[in-house]
Amino acid sequence: MSGHGNNRGQDTTIKKRGEKHYVMLYTRYERFWHWSQALLIFTLFFTGFGLHGTHDLIDFRTAVEIHTYAAIALIVLWIFTTFWNFTTGQWRQYLFKEGVLKVIRFYAYGILVGEPHPYRKGLQRKQNALQSLAYMGFMIFIGPALWASGIVYLFYDLWSSYSWSGNGLTVIAFLHTAAAFLMGIFVIIHIYMTTTGKTPTHYIKTMISGYDSIELTKAEVAYIEETHAVSMKD
């Protein structure tokens, strides 16, 4: 699965790749997916902890209704996105990359003293090593923990007649709540990280417009000019 050259070695010697160009990094679907997912997760977090009794800003009944519809929407979105990830090959973005420690060191120290980011975004390298790891964790752990426990929770009525259903509900609610806390932590850190770009809103703007200015090799520029496979603004 590995062996994709451009995933390797970038961190040790930062190759001068070429000129910066303003290219479409996040396609329309990707942005749609990202923002609708964000909205749904906010909604689920808010309604979930509302019905959990953490806050009183929404009544139980409305919270359950919105939570249920939002959960169904999120699951549908994830199914589509999984499909999209595999058909477009974008799933490779999430594979493990070397240099995680470097990135961690950067955020813990380098960023404060003005060091450059140890990772260069590339056309096919949208995420740094830490990001990939975090998103992978999100996709194989927090996400599934939530949807799996959530679906079982949602369909409580299908298994409520079993003698273990009482304990079962406790376990499921526990897992779901625990995963929801993890999701909350993920979201807080994730949002904070978006402010660490050139300007605090740079990454957010990128995720809205889809365009970012990245270094392209000559070959990449030639490929784009020839095929128009990626939209480039300059």
Partner: protein
């Protein structure tokens, strides 16, 4: 930030709290508050408490010694429209009379309805006995002790005015004589029929017979029909010694209820008679309180099939809400654990008639000028004043719009009978305790009216007692106000061993609630139960979303969320600080 001290304290104590639940709760609050300091403000839950009592100012009134407990001002019958009968009883010669007494009318009835007497004699309305098939207890009004006037046994002269028979005043009553059946109490449709005690009581009670119009026997006999609500209500609305006293969901307001009070009996709407649900077969009625069908898993049958139960499900099915909506599906999912009544009867005693909630026999027996008296210091919704003290009974408390008591119930009531021994130190004795739990697979959460009484018991034997209350002799409590004698005689009369010493014990009785079904828009809301301070707060042992949380998980979770927020805030702050420094350096 204000968050650090909280957090430090928390971190240090987290290890010690795992075992201390009380502390856990406090910690949950503290840690939540610390997150709130960063992100959101916590608003405390404020559930409005249900106000029930409304007490008239006490003052001096003329001594009121009327002991009548069924004052029916509206004596007109309710409308029961079953269409025209195939028989017009006013055309039957045998019913022309003249009649001198009830049994004479009964003889006339039975001459045509040849099997009715035999059928009726099997009914609990006649036998006042019930042999419980599962607990094997011998139940029924004939022997049981309740938490109101305590025992009908020995006081039949008074209490059996709610027996569907004529003349039961003592052991000599003939339960095999069909002439003794009172057909009219159930079948009179004029409203002119009434019953009085079967024997004279003391002077104090003689008013019960005064001022009554004689019963127009022939007219009543010619106007018989299927029972209206007031026929059943003549006894069942007045259980416990007065309007609404006993049940809380049965009182005279159900004679002509509004839609808001009861959707089924709504006089201008569905106008159900009692027997619409309490279906009848050969004078046996569905819907036993001694052996409750607390969970009907069969639901509706084909037309004409299901005529054996009085459950909600027998008409509304086991999935009464619409599966086309999320809410409906969710509610249908509740049917296995929550009785329909729990949500659909949000409060009881809603019709302007109060129900008794507490009764203290200890204060009974006070006199003024040598006479018993009443104090009416409670004014109920319909404006009537209710007795808060009666010399013959003690002091009472009332409630209206009462939130019921909720518990798991599998339909089995376990009675404390005259034979049961209890330990008075163990708190209130449950006169009719019940079975049920969240994990027995058959119980559901039911609403109950719970009554708290302080009543006499045998201090030596730790049993309840029979009191001799009614009679025109010197031993009757309702006359001499002497507990010692009334108990001694009451016990001796029924051959029950008595230690000779009595005291008072607290008792609870429970009345499953099933009437006064509110319109669906007034049914309970999810959050009435699914909240930290909801109605089902006292039920333990199972997880309920919105009510429960996982103490230490929540603490850890809130700390982690707070920590993450704090972390990124600190990181941001540092970035800002350093970038200022770098800029300064660059500038200099």
């Amino acid at each position: 930030m204000g968050i650090r001290p909280d957090q430090c304290r928390l971190c240090v104590s987290v290890i010690t709290v795992i075992t201390d639940m009380k502390m856990l709760k406090q910690l949950t609050l503290v840690s939540k508050a610390s997150v709130g300091a960063c992100l959101w403000a916590l608003i405390l839950i404020t559930t409005p408490a249900v106000e029930a009592s409304d007490t008239a100012p006490s003052g001096t009134e003329p001594v009121d010694n009327n002991m009548n407990f069924r004052i029916v001002t509206d004596s007109k019958p309710s409308i029961r429209d079953d269409g025209e009968s195939t028989a017009d009883h006013s055309k039957f010669e045998i019913l022309m009379g003249p009649f001198e007494s009830g049994p004479e009318v009964t003889r006339a009835c039975i001459s045509c309805h040849t099997e009715a007497g035999r059928h009726f004699m099997q009914s609990i309305h006649w036998t006042w006995e019930y042999d419980h098939p599962e607990t094997e207890q011998k139940l029924g009004k004939k022997t049981l002790i309740n938490t109101f006037c305590t025992n009908a046994k020995g006081n039949e002269g008074m209490c059996a005015q709610c027996h569907a028979g004529y003349g039961w005043k003592d052991e000599t009553f003939d339960f095999t004589n069909q002439d003794n059946i009172d057909c009219l109490v159930c079948h009179d449709r004029t409203g002119a029929y009434y019953k009085t005690p079967n024997s004279l009581g003391n002077k104090a009670c003689s008013v019960m017979f005064e001022g009554k119009q004689p019963i127009p026997w022939s007219k009543v006999a010619q106007s018989v029909g299927k029972p209206g609500r007031e026929n059943c209500g003549a006894c069942h609305f007045y259980g416990g010694g007065g309007d609404g006293v006993k049940h809380g969901d049965l009182d005279s307001s159900l004679k002509r209820p509004s839609h808001d009070l009861d959707v089924h009996m709504d006089a201008e709407g569905l106008n159900f008679a009692c027997t619409t649900c309490h279906v009848t077969r050969q004078h046996l009625w569905a819907g036993s309180r001694y052996n409750v069908m607390a969970h009907d898993t069969e639901g509706v049958g084909l037309p004409g099939e299901r005529r054996d139960v009085a459950t909600c499900e027998s008409c509304h099915s086991n999935a009464p809400h619409s599966y086309n909506e999320l809410l409906g599906s969710k509610l249908n999912g509740h049917v296995d654990r929550i009785a329909c009544q729990t949500c659909h009867i949000p409060t009881i005693a809603r019709g302007g008639v109060a129900t008794k909630t507490e009764w203290d026999w200890r204060t009974a027996g006070k006199t003024r000028n040598g006479e018993g008296f009443k104090e009416k210091h409670y004014t109920q919704g319909n404006g009537e004043h209710r007795a808060t003290y009666k010399s013959i009974k003690g002091s009472f408390k009332y409630g209206e719009n009462l939130v019921p008591h909720y518990d798991w119930f599998d339909g089995q009531m376990i009675y404390t009978t005259i034979e049961s021994q209890f330990d008075p130190a163990n708190g209130p004795v449950e006169i009719n305790g019940f079975q049920g739990s969240h994990n027995d697979g058959k119980s559901r959460i039911w609403p109950f009216k719970r009554m708290l009484t302080v009543q006499p018991y045998d201090k030596g034997n730790n049993t309840l007692v029979y009191m001799h209350l009614w009679g025109d002799d010197d031993d009757a409590y309702w006359g001499n106000y002497d507990f010692g004698r009334a108990i001694k005689v009451g016990m001796a009369k029924n051959d029950i061993p008595y230690s000779g010493e009595f005291d008072f014990v607290e008792t609870y009785s429970f009345w499953p609630i099933t009437h006064m079904v509110a319109p669906k828009e007034n049914a309970m809301d999810c959050a009435d139960c699914h909240s930290r301070k909801g109605r089902l707060n006292q039920l333990e042992g199972f997880y309920m979303p919105g009510r429960d949380s996982f103490h230490w998980l929540d603490i850890l979770g809130y700390i982690a969320l707070g920590g993450a927020l704090l972390g990124v805030l600190l990181h941001g702050l540092l970035r800002k600080l350093f970038s200022n420094k770098i800029q300064q350096k660059d500038a200099s």
